[in-house]
C-alpha cells in the first residue's frame, strides 16, 4: 500500500518535472507572472533622493530655487561633514602637536647646544649687513606675521584653551576682535611677502656651496666650520619657505576674505583647511627662525636691529660674503644716513655704490 502510493507520487513528480522542462522562457513570460515580492520593487523615490544626497550626477545635485544665494539651489552637500571631521579630529589636534613639538624642540635644542658663540669674541669692528629698508621690511612682515599668528591660533584653539578660562561671552568679544584684526592685517602681510620676494630673491638663489652647507648640517651640530655667502643654505630654505607658505596662506586667505564673489562651499572648505595647514607649518618654522636669530646665535640679532654685524661674526657665519666685502667686490649698500649712524665701520662703503 505504501509502496504503491509512493510510486504514484514519484510518477507525478516526474511528470511535473517533464512539463516544466518543456516550457520555454518565452512561454513563461507570456503567462501571468506572480506578483514580485515588495523587496524586489525598486523604489524610484529612494533612488532619486539617494542620487540627490550622494550627488551622483550633476543633473541631480543642482535644483532650481527662487532664493538667491551661494549654492542655494543645492539641496544637500556631504563635503561639510568631511570638513567637520578633518577640522575637529585632525587639523586642530595635529596642529597643536606640531606647534607644541616645535616649541619644545627649540627649547631642548637650546638646552643641549646652548648659544653659539663667536670664537675669539667680538672684534668691535662692524660691517653693514642689512640697510634700513631691509630691516624695516623684515620687521613689518614679522610684526604682521605675529599678529596674524596669534589671532589665527585664537580662532583655531581658543574654543578649547581660552574659552574655558574666560567664559563664552568674553571669548566671543576677544574672538570677534581677533577675526577683525586678522582680516585687516592679512593684506599688509601679503604686501610684506611680495616685497620680501622682490628685495631678497636674488640673494637667495641657490649657489655652489649650498649642498655642502646642508651636508654639514650648517655646522650647527659640532664645531665644524662651514662656508657660506651672504645667505647660507638654511636661510635660503627659510626664505623660500616664507615665499611658498606665504603665497599659500595669502591665496587661501583671499578666497575666505571675499565671500561676495560667490565661491562655493567646497572651495572655501578646502581653502580653510589649506590655510590652517600652511599657517601651522609657517608658525612651527618661525620658531626655528626666531630661535636662531635671537638666543641661538651670538650677534645675529644685531644685524636686524642696527643693521651691522661684527667682523668676527661675519667671518664665522658668512665667510665668503666677508671676503667679498673685504675685497670690495660687494659694495655695502649703506645709505648715507646709515653710514653716518654707523658705529665705526671698519670697512668703508665702496665709493661707486648706487
Amino acid at each position: 500500500m505504501l509502496s504503491k502510493s509512493l510510486a504514484a507520487y514519484c510518477r507525478a513528480l516526474l511528470l511535473t518535472a517533464l512539463a516544466l522542462l518543456c516550457v520555454t522562457p518565452a512561454q513563461v513570460l507570456s503567462q501571468q507572472a506572480p506578483p514580485p515580492s515588495p523587496i524586489m520593487v525598486p523604489n524610484p523615490a529612494s533612488d532619486l533622493w539617494r542620487a540627490v544626497r550622494q550627488r551622483e550626477s550633476e543633473r541631480d545635485l543642482t535644483g532650481v530655487t527662487q532664493v538667491r544665494g551661494v549654492e542655494s539651489n543645492v539641496l544637500i552637500t556631504q563635503s561639510g561633514e568631511e570638513f567637520r571631521q578633518f577640522r575637529r579630529e585632525r587639523l586642530i589636534r595635529d596642529s597643536g602637536i606640531l606647534v607644541g613639538a616645535a616649541a619644545i624642540g627649540v627649547f631642548l635644542f637650546y638646552l643641549i647646544r646652548g648659544k653659539i658663540m663667536v670664537p675669539g669674541g667680538l672684534s668691535g669692528r662692524k660691517i653693514l649687513r642689512f640697510e634700513s629698508f631691509d630691516r624695516s621690511l623684515h620687521w613689518f612682515t614679522a610684526i604682521t606675521f605675529v599678529v596674524l599668528g596669534l589671532t589665527g591660533l585664537t580662532l583655531m584653539f581658543g574654543r578649547f584653551v581660552v574659552l574655558p578660562v574666560i567664559g563664552p561671552e568674553a571669548f566671543g568679544v576677544f574672538a570677534n576682535l581677533s577675526k577683525t584684526v586678522h582680516n585687516f592685517v592679512g593684506p599688509a602681510f601679503i604686501l610684506g611677502v611680495v616685497l620680501l620676494l622682490v628685495r631678497f630673491a636674488a640673494r637667495n638663489m641657490p649657489s655652489k656651496g649650498d649642498l655642502k652647507w646642508i651636508a654639514k648640517g650648517g655646522g650647527i651640530i659640532g664645531n665644524a666650520h662651514v662656508s657660506a655667502g651672504f645667505f647660507n643654505a638654511g636661510e635660503k630654505v627659510w626664505f623660500w619657505s616664507v615665499i611658498v607658505l606665504g603665497a599659500l596662506v595669502s591665496a587661501t586667505g583671499l578666497v575666505l576674505y571675499f565671500p561676495n564673489f560667490g565661491q562655493g562651499r567646497e572651495l572655501m572648505q578646502l581653502a580653510l583647511m589649506l590655510h590652517g595647514i600652511g599657517s601651522v607649518l609657517f608658525i612651527a618654522g618661525s620658531f626655528g627662525h626666531i630661535y636662531i636669530g635671537t638666543i641661538g646665535t651670538e650677534g645675529s640679532l644685531k644685524s636686524m636691529t642696527t643693521g651691522y654685524v661684527d667682523e668676527n661674526w661675519a667671518k664665522l657665519h658668512h665667510d665668503l660674503w666677508y671676503d667679498e666685502v673685504a675685497r670690495g667686490d660687494t659694495p655695502s649698500r649703506a645709505s648715507s644716513a646709515d653710514r653716518a649712524a654707523a658705529p665705526e665701520p671698519s670697512i668703508p662703503a665702496s665709493p661707486d655704490k648706487a
Binding site: 524610484p44 532664493v67 544665494g69 543645492v74 570638513f83 581658543g158 566671543g172 565671500p259 561676495n260
Partner: protein, 209 residues
C-alpha cells in the same frame, strides 16, 4: 521634552514658496537672508520634486562642532540655536552645514560677514523670552506662545510638518501606508507591487509608466 523636527513631504510640496515668505515676514529677517528656501529637483521633467529646506536642527550638529567660539546650543526641545552676541561671523558653520542653513548679512568692509542668522524653529534665542532684544536678533518666539513654526502652520498642502519627531513620523507613516511608498512610478506601486490597495482610490492607474 519634545524632540522638535521639520519634515517636508516631497509628494505634497508644490513649490509655492509660501513658507519662505511667511518665515521672512514672521521673523523680519534682514535683506539677503533667507532662513528657508524651496529647492526643486528635476524641474520641468517627469518626476519633478520640491522640498522646503531650512535648518534641520540636527541631533549631532556639524555647525556646532566647527564653531570656533562655541556659540551653538541645543535646547531641551532638541532645537539647535545660537547666541549672536558670541558669534563672530566666520562662516565655518556655513561650510559644514549639509543644508546651507546658516545665512550671513553683509556687514562692514569688503562685504564681510555679519552675525550668522538661521532658522530658530520660531523659538527665539537666548535673550529673555518676548523681549525686544530677542525679537530684534532672532525673530519670533512662537514656541513660547504655544504655536509651531509659521512656515509649517500655514503650509497649504501640509507638505511641511513641524513638531515632535514622534508625532511627525506618525503622520508621515500614515500617509505612506495610504498612498504606497511612492507615487513617482504609479505602475510599480499600485499595479505590480500592490503593497496594499489604496484607500478611497477607484480604479487602477495606468501601468504603462
Amino acid at each position: 521634552m519634545a524632540n522638535m523636527k521639520f519634515y517636508c513631504d516631497a509628494e505634497r510640496c508644490i513649490e509655492c514658496n509660501a513658507c519662505v515668505t511667511a518665515c521672512k515676514n514672521e521673523n523680519e529677517v534682514p535683506w539677503g537672508v533667507n532662513r528657508r528656501r524651496v529647492v526643486t529637483i528635476k524641474d520641468g521633467e517627469p518626476g519633478e520634486r520640491s522640498l522646503s529646506v531650512a535648518c534641520m536642527h540636527c541631533s549631532d550638529a556639524p555647525c556646532e562642532a566647527v564653531c570656533p567660539v562655541d556659540c551653538f546650543y541645543t535646547t531641551d526641545d532638541g532645537l539647535v540655536l545660537h547666541d549672536k552676541d558670541i558669534c563672530i561671523g566666520c562662516g565655518y558653520c556655513f561650510y559644514a552645514c549639509p543644508f546651507g542653513a546658516p545665512q550671513f548679512p553683509e556687514a562692514g568692509a569688503f562685504a564681510s560677514r555679519g552675525k550668522m542668522d538661521k532658522c530658530t524653529f520660531c523659538a527665539g534665542g537666548p535673550e529673555d523670552t518676548f523681549s525686544s532684544d530677542e525679537h530684534k536678533k532672532y525673530g519670533a518666539n512662537r514656541l513660547a506662545e504655544g504655536k509651531l513654526p509659521l512656515c509649517a502652520e500655514m503650509c497649504a498642502t501640509k507638505a511641511l510638518l513641524a513638531g515632535d519627531s514622534n508625532v511627525i513620523s506618525d503622520i508621515y507613516r500614515k500617509r505612506v501606508v495610504n498612498r504606497g511608498a511612492s507615487v513617482l512610478d504609479w505602475g510599480v506601486n499600485y499595479d505590480k507591487a500592490s503593497l496594499r490597495a489604496p484607500r478611497g482610490v477607484k480604479g487602477k492607474a495606468s501601468s504603462d509608466g
